[in-house]
């Protein structure tokens, strides 16, 4: 059997092919373009490139693709000149198509696209009906249109001859752009998905293909007249859909499924050889109502789907007569996408590791296959991967009677290196049709976070460079439409080639995140089962070890918010109690002495709504808010003698608050994010009943926990993507960690915490008033504002007294005059006005009695005391630790001078390997 190729696109948009006979990914020969989508047929591959244009790559073949163009030259006899081009007014064009209705001058016949070239010039066809004509190739008739003969007769008043020219498709083996329509009204908006198929619907014309595409606006388009001799097709025509389409898949035969934005699937009915576009749509509901369909892929008589929770589903009972099928079956594994190729073979891209998986054991009798098997073929130029590939045991064999039958379909190559994870229960138990059970099966429901960060973190801690792009391709798209894998083909995709030196192999650890996730899931599940088995009926038993009260005590200062209204020394104790339900509750006691009388106040930490570091005085202090104290505008304020001490307390209190509210890990996608005016980031989890107006949580009862890092603006999406912008205009993306900053001492803060750098300018204003004797001086009227103030003039801000935004910030420049204030300044930076406060302008006029100018000083942020200096590296300009990762280099347009090398750079704590 000749080899065929699998097409795939990696995360960088590079297109690769993998031959069924090969062991390496080969880059597409025409690598000029980056692609989003590819959809392959045997001889060609269609794709959407990064420019949203559609391209087709036609494979080179020995026989060129040629097309004949023809035109007819028509003449009429007249008594003066004999046959000539002078026709009657009612006649056809002198040069026309065969029907005579279209004017077709020889020099007016153009190539359909730049991808064609003429083979030769026009020449006269001297054959007529299979027999040679006289020189000149004329055929004669009484009149147009009539029967033409080779011979000139007495009554032959008209004659015509055929001109022929061949054009040849020249863009073979390169990506040929499908030309845009001339009429912009007709033009589809940018394409977002595309699928080719339908080559088995009819053989006429040769190589006919159905090319379907979906545009960004959710419209479905069909490419007319795509065939071997017209590989580009002729035009796009719109096919109406009852909803907004997002993705489309066309099988080799008459199956066409479309994913709708709302999560249902549309199935095209009525596709047949006479009507390859089909006639009507019917709707298929997703497997579960809460998770709509994200992706479908169709084969000859199978449909696979991926839902929004990345679960893989197999559609049962699909065939030509019933293109909708009967029910969904959940399959093992979590995938970004799946693709059905020839012979209904299936490929998928793993959700966690972005690796390519091949569904093994797909046969005609068992279309759902057996296992997902990772394709570990190396790419040219890559170091190849060593070691084992994995198979995840499938949902069992739904269509076969035996669970392990058909082992011959596994090539010998997979016997040594693969391993299989048993399903959590007996395998067939996980296999449920939709009708038998609603919702996801129990086993998967227990582990919503199979792609959990912690398992990835393990990998990062354990193995350096878990998957650099050098050694592990990350895939974005796969198409098997041109890849013929027979059930008994032996593929060499699953093992790596031998001949690697052992030292190379040592560097390349074969653990993929998917594996670790699978192990973790398995171990965790076994533990859960064990706990259930051993504890479920014995909950009433006494615990052997009683939970004791755990206390942290210390000396702090407390702002006595009644007389004498000053900082007083207090003893503080935090008592943590673990209740029987393992929930932690903590009480903070503050013991103070008034008039030699010992007193205390206490705060239940499960009532605390926010813990905010306060830096505006020369104290390491923080404020503790409860709903009641928020209403009173009077938080509990505590101060420590050292910054370390304060940070310890803040960490502990933060932790206890989260513990008592059972908040762990990263915030949910629904979380509300905010930044304080100091740039600290806080996040609040809305209750499950956020939408219910009658039970809406009053805002003073919302609990805000701090997330490490420092931002000026933060923006979150409902899918859990959080971006922010620092004061120095750097964009940051939230990595999902929850450490750094106030959580530096927290054991879990090591995951996904990176150093974060920020620069912020502090502005103060110098104000002056004019007097007739000395001109502008810093002597104001008694009613005037401070001569050195903030922008409002209400607060005194001198150069000496103004501090960086917080103790974690340090000055990185001296004071300088800021000329970039709105409204402009004079050369010395002054702005003039008639009085304070008024509108300022840049020129002094007669009426101006006051002036001001803005001074700025840059400060750089850093969350905790640097333990060793670390020069900010250009790739990650960072000193501040938080779960944020920079996404762009710092803007050169930043209004502050860049921090010099004197800027102190924080380090991560000792336990934290610096990954900045």
């Amino acid at each position: 059997m000749p080899s065929s190729v699998l097409w795939a696109v990696d995360l960088f948009g590079r297109v690769f092919t993998l031959s069924t006979a090969g062991q390496h990914w080969e880059p597409c020969r025409d690598a000029q373009l980056e692609f989003k989508r590819v959809s392959a047929a045997r001889d060609c591959c269609w794709g959407i490139a990064c420019d949203h244009q559609v391209y087709v790559l036609v494979g080179a073949s020995d026989v060129p693709i040629r097309c004949q163009e023809e035109a007819y030259e028509n003449q009429r006899w007249n008594p003066v000149g004999g046959f000539c081009e002078v026709l009657l007014p009612s006649d056809r064009w002198p040069c026309s198509d065969v029907s005579g209705l279209q004017h077709r001058p020889l020099d007016g016949v153009a190539l359909p696209s730049p991808h064609w070239e003429w083979e030769s010039d026009w020449y006269v066809d001297e054959n007529f009906g299979g027999e040679p004509t006289e020189k000149g190739g004329w055929t004669y008739a009484i009149d147009f249109p009539a029967t033409y003969t080779r011979d000139k007769k007495w009554n032959s008043c008209v004659r015509r001859r055929r001109w022929i020219r061949y054009r040849r498709y020249k863009s073979q083996d390169t990506w040929a752009k499908i030309p845009s329509e001339d009429d912009p009204q007709q033009l589809p908006d940018p394409f977002s998905d595309l699928s080719v198929g339908g080559w088995e619907v009819t053989d006429e014309p040769v190589g006919r293909l159905s090319v379907w595409a979906v545009t960004l606006q959710g419209k479905v388009w069909y490419r007319e007249n795509v065939s071997h001799h017209n590989p580009e097709g002729s035009s796009w025509s719109l096919v109406d859909t009852p909803g907004e389409a997002v993705q489309i898949s066309c099988g080799p035969h008459d199956l066409l499924w479309v994913t709708l934005w709302e999560g249902q699937a549309l199935v095209r009915e009525g596709i047949n050889r006479n009507n390859p576009k089909g006639s009507s749509w019917s709707t298929v509901e997703p497997p579960t109502s809460e998770n709509g369909i994200l992706h479908v892929s169709t084969g000859v008589c199978v449909v696979w789907a991926v839902t929004k929770d990345r679960k893989v589903w197999f559609r049962r009972g699909v065939n030509s007569h019933n293109p909708c099928g009967t029910s969904w079956i959940e399959m093992f594994g979590e995938m970004m996408m799946v693709n059905v190729g020839l012979n209904d073979q299936v490929w998928g891209i793993g959700c966690v590791d972005r690796a390519l998986y091949f569904r093994q054991g797909v046969t005609q009798s068992e279309l759902s296959g057996k296992t997902w098997k990772a394709i570990v073929a190396g790419r040219e130029g890559d170091r190849s991967l060593s070691g084992s590939s994995i198979s995840l045991l499938s949902a069992g064999c739904f269509f076969g009677n035996e669970v392990r039958g058909g082992a011959e379909s596994c090539g010998p190559g997979d016997t040594d290196a693969s391993w299989e994870v048993p399903g959590p229960a007996s395998s067939p138990a996980r296999l449920r049709g939709k009708e038998s059970k609603k919702g996801p099966s129990h086993a998967t429901a227990t582990f919503p976070e199979a792609t959990d960060l912690s398992s990835l973190t393990l990998l990062q801690l354990g193995l350096e460079e878990p998957e650099s792009t050098d050694c592990h391709a990350l895939w974005a798209w796969v198409s098997g439409g041109g890849c013929a894998v027979e059930a008994h083909t032996t593929l060499k995709w699953f093992t790596t080639q031998s001949g690697l030196s052992p030292s190379t192999q040592t560097l390349l650890l074969p653990i993929t995140p998917a594996q670790t996730a699978a192990w973790r899931r398995q171990i965790f599940q076994q533990l859960t089962e064990r706990t259930k088995r051993e504890l479920e009926n014995f909950q009433h038993y006494e615990q052997a070890v009683e939970q004791s009260v755990w206390v942290k005590t210390g000396a702090l200062q407390w702002w006595c918010d009644w007389k004498p209204h000053k900082w007083v020394d207090v003893h503080v104790a935090l008592e943590q109690l673990t209740g029987n339900d393992a929930a932690q509750d903590s009480i903070l006691f503050i013991y103070y002495v008034v008039h030699e009388e010992k007193k205390y106040i206490h705060v239940f930490l499960n009532e605390v709504t926010a813990l905010v570091p306060v830096f505006n005085e020369a104290k390491h202090s923080f404020a503790l808010y409860t709903p009641e104290r928020t209403r009173q505008r009077w938080p509990v304020r505590l101060a420590a003698t050292t910054e370390q001490d304060m940070s310890d307390w803040l960490t502990l209190l933060n932790l206890s608050c989260c513990e008592s509210r059972r908040l762990h890990g990263r915030p949910s996608p629904q979380a509300i994010w905010s930044v304080t005016c100091k740039g600290d980031i806080f996040v609040s989890e809305p209750g499950p009943d956020l939408e219910a107006p009658e039970r809406r949580l009053p805002c003073d009862q919302m609990f805000w926990r701090q997330i490490g890092g420092h931002l000026r603006v933060v923006e979150a999406s409902s899918r859990g993507v959080v971006w922010g912008i620092g004061y120095d205009h750097t964009a940051w993306v939230y990595t999902g960690g929850y450490g750094g900053g106030c959580f530096q001492g927290l054991a879990n803060s090591t995951s996904n915490v990176f150093t974060q750098w920020d620069v912020k300018c502090v502005h103060i204003y110098e104000n002056q008033r004019w007097n007739p004797v000395t001109g502008y001086t810093s002597r104001g009227l008694p009613t005037d504002r401070y001569m050195w103030s903030d922008a409002t003039g209400l607060q005194e801000c001198t150069k000496a007294s103004t501090k960086p935004p917080s103790l974690q910030w340090t000055w990185v420049s001296d004071w300088f005059v800021d000329f970039s204030v709105p409204g402009g300044t004079d050369p010395e930076g002054w702005q003039y006005a008639s009085d304070f406060p008024a509108s300022y302008h840049k020129y002094k006029t007669m009426k101006d009695f006051v002036r001001r100018r803005c001074w700025a000083r840059a400060s750089a942020g850093c969350t905790w005391a640097p333990t060793s200096p670390l020069p900010p590296s250009p790739s990650a300009p960072a000193t501040r630790c938080g779960p944020w990762r920079g996404t762009a280099p710092p803007s050169t347009a930043a209004p502050c001078p860049p921090p010099g090398p004197t800027a102190t750079a924080g380090t991560t704590s000792r336990l934290l390997p610096n990954r900045g």
Binding site: S386, G387, W419, V421, P422, S454, S455, T457, L458, L461, G462, L463, E464, P502, S503, T504, Q505, T506, L507, L508, L509, P510, I511, Q515, T516, W519, R520, Q522, I523, F524, Q526, L527, T528, R530, T531, R533, E534, L535, N537, F538, Y541, E542, Q543, A544, V545, Q547, S548, W550, A582, H664, A747, N748, T750, S751, L911, P913
Partner: protein, 251 residues
């Protein structure tokens, strides 16, 4: 696996429901009721049975009481084995709760070590931790720790305080990023079928040709005579035998 708190918590908070019954030949002043407890799997019998001792001593005369010891179906229970190990080894196939017989007489000198005080348990526990760290880090980590860290580790175990324990134990579970794992993986294989108390060998997480070892590799090397790996029980988790050693070493 230091960050995989779910697994760690489940391991830590594993409990075995146990029914303590006084041995029939013990002399009591009145009927001794059985005593029910949830025993932590990761702890030691004599560390967590103060309540049991008190309960039975109430019905006994002072002169009839000597050192307490436990027995299950005729087998004296070694207090220096973790409770979970004892259970999995001896009683995992029997119905719950685990029925343990309590003795105050005729201490089986040849089977058990004496446990006069909690200090003995602490010494034993710390020596196990040190031995493991010798294999993992040439004892570097444990030696760098302060006395109070050692104490916290022990207090964490004694008081069943997960956070307190793991705050220190985390350091013992780390290894340099440039290495593939611990120097050697500390493990012991306990079998009821053999005379040897346990099998212990030096075993690296990565083979000489750079492959990561699996638990199956370890079993093949260490006890080739063992029955099919699937039928073996492991103390705290029973992973599939193909699970890579490096992963297991975290749990």
């Amino acid at each position: 696996m230091t960050d995989d708190k779910d697994v760690l918590r489940d391991v830590w908070f594993g409990r075995i429901p146990t029914c303590f019954t006084l041995y029939q030949d013990e002399i009591t002043e009145r009927e001794a009721e059985p005593y029910y407890l949830l025993l932590p799997r990761v702890s030691y019998l004599t560390l967590v049975t103060d309540k049991v001792k008190k309960h039975f001593q109430k019905v006994m005369r002072q002169e009839d009481i000597s050192e307490i010891w436990f027995e299950y179906e005729g087998t004296p229970l070694k207090w220096h084995y973790p409770i979970g190990l004892l259970f999995d080894l001896l009683a995992s196939s029997s119905a719950l709760p685990w029925n343990i017989t309590v003795h105050f007489k005729s201490f089986p000198e040849k089977d058990l070590l004496h446990c006069p005080s909690k200090d003995v348990i602490e010494a034993h526990f710390m020596s196990c931790v040190k031995e493991a760290d010798a294999l993992k880090h040439k004892s570097q980590v444990i030696n760098e720790m302060q006395k109070k860290d050692h104490k916290q580790l022990w207090m964490g175990l004694q008081n069943d305080r997960f956070d307190q324990f793991w705050a220190i134990n985390r350091k013992l579970m780390e290894y340099p990023a440039e290495e593939n794992g611990f120097r050697y993986i500390p493990f012991r294989i306990y079998q009821t079928t053999t005379e040897r108390p346990f099998i212990q060998k030096l075993f690296r997480p990565v083979s000489t040709d750079g492959q990561l070892h699996t638990l199956g590799d370890l079993l093949k090397e260490v006890c080739p005579s063992a029955v099919a790996p699937e039928e073996m029980w492991f103390t705290w988790v029973m992973p599939k035998s193909d699970v890579l050693m490096i992963y297991l070493s975290y749990c």
